[in-house]
């Protein structure tokens, strides 16, 4: 089976008054129908990597790559219409804060139905039925009621589930989730992750899960990329993250307080400039 997504030597550069700044420096990975985690601290380039794949970089960013292909289609060479059809219908992005992604003056039902019709076509009744189905799929207790609410009337956890429902309405093959659960309580976070987990298992969707939370990624994903300073430090199976070898990954894991391992002081991370040297 060929990979769903192939990324080779991806670079994202921003112009600054002191010369171009490379925020993502040569990232390569491939994704099948699996859960790939990208972890790193702020400034590691993990979010930009996700946004580069779906084509939602800030306007002043410059993107280059040796290869960037989705299901065999070269995203770098594709024309604008092709790209628009791919994004939305076959790729979706879920962000940390649903408030920025939901239209505040439209009822939730209308928004999801519109997303469905935009990508699938069909009648308004059909779209509405599908929208209801989506809300049920993300375990919203009273979907009929939720359809009638405005975005400001729902809680953070519910908003995030609605956001996921909307992004999943077109039944994408690839979902990029950027810190989708960081603003949520741990129990709600678990529920949201369970929904994503089911979708990957049932529909064979590919998932890129971007997070700063090592433990969460280790327990949820199949494979993990650890990023630092715009580079991939290490790639490993998620279950083996605890025994990672790279000093950066080790340092991050060590600096976490652990309930079952009391320590007087936490070891702090000392960064080695050599990590950023081109391999």
């Amino acid at each position: 089976m060929s990979a769903l997504l192939e990324v080779e030597d991806l670079r994202v550069t921003f112009p600054t008054p002191t010369g171009p700044f490379e925020a993502v420096r040569g990232v390569s990975f491939s994704l099948g129908r699996e859960r790939l985690g990208i972890v790193g601290e702020s400034g590691s380039g993990k979010s930009l990597t996700g946004r580069a794949v779906i084509g939602l970089l800030p306007p002043n960013a410059r993107l280059s790559a040796r290869r960037l292909a989705f299901d065999g289609v070269d995203l770098l060479g594709a024309d604008a219409r092709m790209l628009r059809r791919l994004r939305g219908r076959r790729m979706s992005l879920v962000l940390q804060d649903p408030k920025y992604s939901l239209n505040p003056v439209l009822r939730i039902g209308e928004q999801i139905a519109e997303a469905v019709r935009l990508h699938r076509g069909g009648s308004a009744r059909e779209a509405r039925r599908r929208a209801l189905g989506m809300l049920e799929a993300v375990r919203i207790r009273d979907p009929e009621r939720a359809m009638r609410l405005y975005p400001h009337e729902v809680s953070g956890g519910m908003g995030q589930r609605i956001m996921i429902a909307m992004m999943l309405a077109p039944e994408p093959d690839l979902l990029i989730a950027d810190e989708p659960t960081s603003a949520l309580d741990v129990t709600v976070q678990m529920q949201v992750l369970a929904i994503l987990d089911n979708l990957v298992a049932k529909r064979g969707m590919g998932l890129i899960f971007i997070s700063h939370d090592l433990d969460l990624v280790a327990s949820f994903c199949d494979r993990v990329l650890v990023m630092y300073g715009g580079r991939v430090m290490e790639e490993c199976r998620a279950r083996e993250l605890a025994s990672a070898r790279h000093p950066y990954t080790r340092g991050l894991l060590d600096s976490l307080p652990r309930i079952d391992r009391p320590r007087e002081l936490l070891p702090t991370l000392s960064r080695d400039p050599a990590w950023l040297d081109p391999a």
Binding site: E41, S42, G156, D185, V186, T187, Q189, M190, Q191, L193, A194, D197, H212, L214, D215, L216, A218, S219, F220, G251, L252, S255, L256, P257, R258, I259, D260, P262, R263, E264, L265, L266, P267, T268, L269
Partner: protein, 257 residues
């Protein structure tokens, strides 16, 4: 040092009234470090704001060193200070580090400001180079260090910490937690730490209370948490959920009222 008894806080009035804190009681001895843990809406931050004097509409007892909080007692600023969650919102954007640190001294007519500010910066691991910077010239971790230095300028006995590291990267979190532990020892501080992160609470505190929906579910010492021996099902669920994703745990989640 801290005494809270039958604390009640209600937001709004009439039908829309929300009982944010419902009959909370606990006590923290001098020099002790106490944690309040809970999910959003559990009322943990509201309790902290009452003790900080930032929420004056409460019923019941909320005392620090025998002085009622939020009743305008002029001795409180030199007794209790607070470090806020968001390092980007807790420093005045147009005040230099120097000004932020010398203002409390100015208010209370404490002399020797120059040396005190220099010493405070030294203590939180920021050199003199940072003294005349504006907040936008500092990283999140550096801002939080400045906020900690500011809280200690008046040499308080009690330090209230509201999720002091939840907005920071994990490697920076480790540095800040270490700094707080060191300062706690050298200043003999009594600490009340509010967090949603059980591991941070277990690392920093001697004892803790778990809150849900405005009330304390259970109180225990960190040793019991480490042995994974909480009595209440709510706490057990919280502990399980904080260990990372598990399909079986996710399926078995229950909502506790």
């Amino acid at each position: 040092m801290i005494r809270v008894e039958d604390l009640e806080v209600t937001f709004g009035a009439g039908r829309d009234a929300v009982r944010a804190v419902r009959g909370v009681s606990f006590a923290v001895a001098p020099g002790e470090s106490f944690g309040l843990v809970g999910e959003s809406g559990s009322g943990k931050s509201t309790v902290l704001r009452v003790l900080a004097g930032l929420n004056t509409r409460y019923r019941g007892v909320a005392e620090i060193g025998g002085i009622a909080a939020g009743r305008g007692d002029r001795r409180l600023p030199r007794l209790v200070q607070m470090v806020f969650q968001d390092p980007y919102g807790s420093l005045h954007p147009r005040h230099t580090v120097d000004r932020a640190l010398s203002e409390p001294l100015e208010i209370h007519g404490i002399g020797d400001a120059n040396a005190r500010v220099a010493r405070a910066l030294e203590e939180v691991g920021l050199g003199p180079a940072f003294r005349f910077r504006y907040p936008n010239q500092l990283s999140g971790g550096q801002r939080q260090r400045v906020a900690i230095a500011r809280a200690l300028m008046l040499e308080p006995k009690v330090l209230l910490l509201d999720e002091p590291t939840s907005a920071l990267d994990v490697s920076v979190q480790a540095e800040i937690l270490n700094l707080l532990k060191r300062l706690r020892a050298s200043h003999r501080l009594t600490i009340l730490l509010v967090s949603h992160n059980l591991a941070v609470i277990a690392h920093m505190c001697d004892r803790l209370a778990v809150m849900n929906r405005g009330a304390i579910v259970e109180e225990m010492d960190s040793e019991a948490l480490r042995r994974a021996a909480p009595r209440e099902p709510y706490t057990r669920q919280l502990l399980l959920a904080s260990r990372g994703y598990d399909r079986a745990v996710a399926a078995g989640l229950v909502t506790y009222d």
